[in-house]
């Protein structure tokens, strides 16, 4: 067993010193490691993508055939929607409403995922050199994905909406009911602090409220799949299915302005 001899105590103190120094130097060592590992990670991720592409070639071929047909149909719909958009713009101008959904974004690739199951985060290949800064919103074409929590010169770390450390002020699009959307570490999100008489139904779309100024207003977060009562019976909470499938993110958009 461990004896409290002078030699042992000196060794233990030395080991503790090393560990504590490393803990305090964590942000410095992170930058060096991130810079060293960025290229092997990009290479590994690219080879993984190519290997998957080889295995799924046959399925993808038929899928692309179907998608081409869908593109033609969607182009027709886009034309119709453009007409509606013009009309909408004109009406908004009449009502003097400010346009809030014009963002300047940059595209980034995911190079690494969180190493454990207790956090949902990933590393992207764009950093401060490309205009990315801490706190910026990260989204996909379908909706909100997360926010930048660490920006280094060549890489940045993104905290996903499903991480328990993530929270965003949100609105139910239909009833304008406010709540706080938090991550759960699972596949769904939770909208909390809803009053017992709140007007929230299954299928409602939840969007960012833009109240705290961190996230732009009107970004789609997901849709309500279930509404439950809290243990205290005073409030309700809604289970939300994220608009973007969080398990297969390859490319993201960082809102830089």
């Amino acid at each position: 067993m461990f004896r409290f001899e002078k030699k042992n105590l000196i060794k233990l103190a030395l080991a503790l010193c090393i560990v504590l120094t490393l803990v305090s130097l964590n942000p410095v060592s992170r930058q060096i490691l991130l810079f060293t590992l960025k290229f092997p990670l990009i290479l590994l991720k690219a080879s993984q993508r190519e290997a998957i592409a080889l295995f799924t070639f046959h399925r993808n071929f038929f899928q692309s055939e179907n998608l081409r047909k869908q593109i033609d149909l969607l182009n027709q719909e886009i034309n119709a929607l453009k007409e509606l958009e013009t009309e909408n713009e004109r009406l908004k101008r009449l009502l003097s409403l400010g346009e809030t959904l014009n963002f300047k974004v940059i595209v980034a690739r995911v190079v690494a995922h969180s190493p454990d199951s207790w956090s949902h985060a990933f590393l992207i290949d764009k950093g401060t050199r490309h205009g990315v800064a801490k706190g910026m919103t990260v989204m996909s074409y379908l909706g909100l994905l997360g926010r930048i929590i660490e920006a280094n010169p060549g890489t940045s770390k993104v905290l996903l909406v499903s991480d328990p450390n993530f929270a965003v002020s949100a609105l139910v699009q239909r009833s304008r009911q406010e709540g706080l959307v938090c991550g759960t570490l699972g596949g769904y999100l939770m909208m909390r602090y809803l009053p017992a008489d709140s007007d929230v139904n299954t299928g409602d779309t939840v969007v960012t409220s833009g109240l705290n100024g961190r996230f732009p207003k009107g970004l789609v977060i997901g849709s309500v799949v279930e509404v439950r009562k809290e243990f205290s019976d005073l409030n309700r909470y809604a289970i939300i299915k994220p608009a973007t499938p969080l398990s297969s993110i390859e490319e993201i958009l960082v809102v830089i302005q």
């Binding site: 490393l22 969180s114 190493p115 207790w118 590393l123």
Partner: protein, 160 residues
Amino acid sequence: MKKWFFIPFIILSGLLQLTVLDSWRIFQVKPDLLLVSMVWACFIFNFRQAFLLSIFCAVLKDTFLPWPFGINTILFPLWCFLIFKLRKQLTLDYAPLQIALIFIVTLMQNIATGLMLILMGYTIAAGIFLRIVGVGSLYTTLTGALSLWVLMRMNLLRSE
């Protein structure tokens, strides 16, 4: 000399954990290859070397985590210290015992990390907590058994 081949093994484990293993999630849980590497380092190297390697594994893992505080830089060397203490009391050169040890270490690591998050004020549902602790520990143990087989084939680790 040959045992130093274990260092590229650690780096490869880290790279796989960050990329490929994300596609191999079971119940949204993935195995912790760096923790497995740390345990095997305790069987391959002497205490001082294993201690330094455990710090290396921990720093590598903490680099990619979203938390500002490096919890693994404290936990990994602690597990390393405890494994060496246990090895003085018990002979652990028997493969099933080594795999059981991986399970225990992973279980303690997951419980410690989960409790740290709860104490930091994050809301984690009991079902999700138990799923990550249970499934995560079992999945890591399975990959630990697989890596034991690889290390035995490489003659880096001797086990009965």
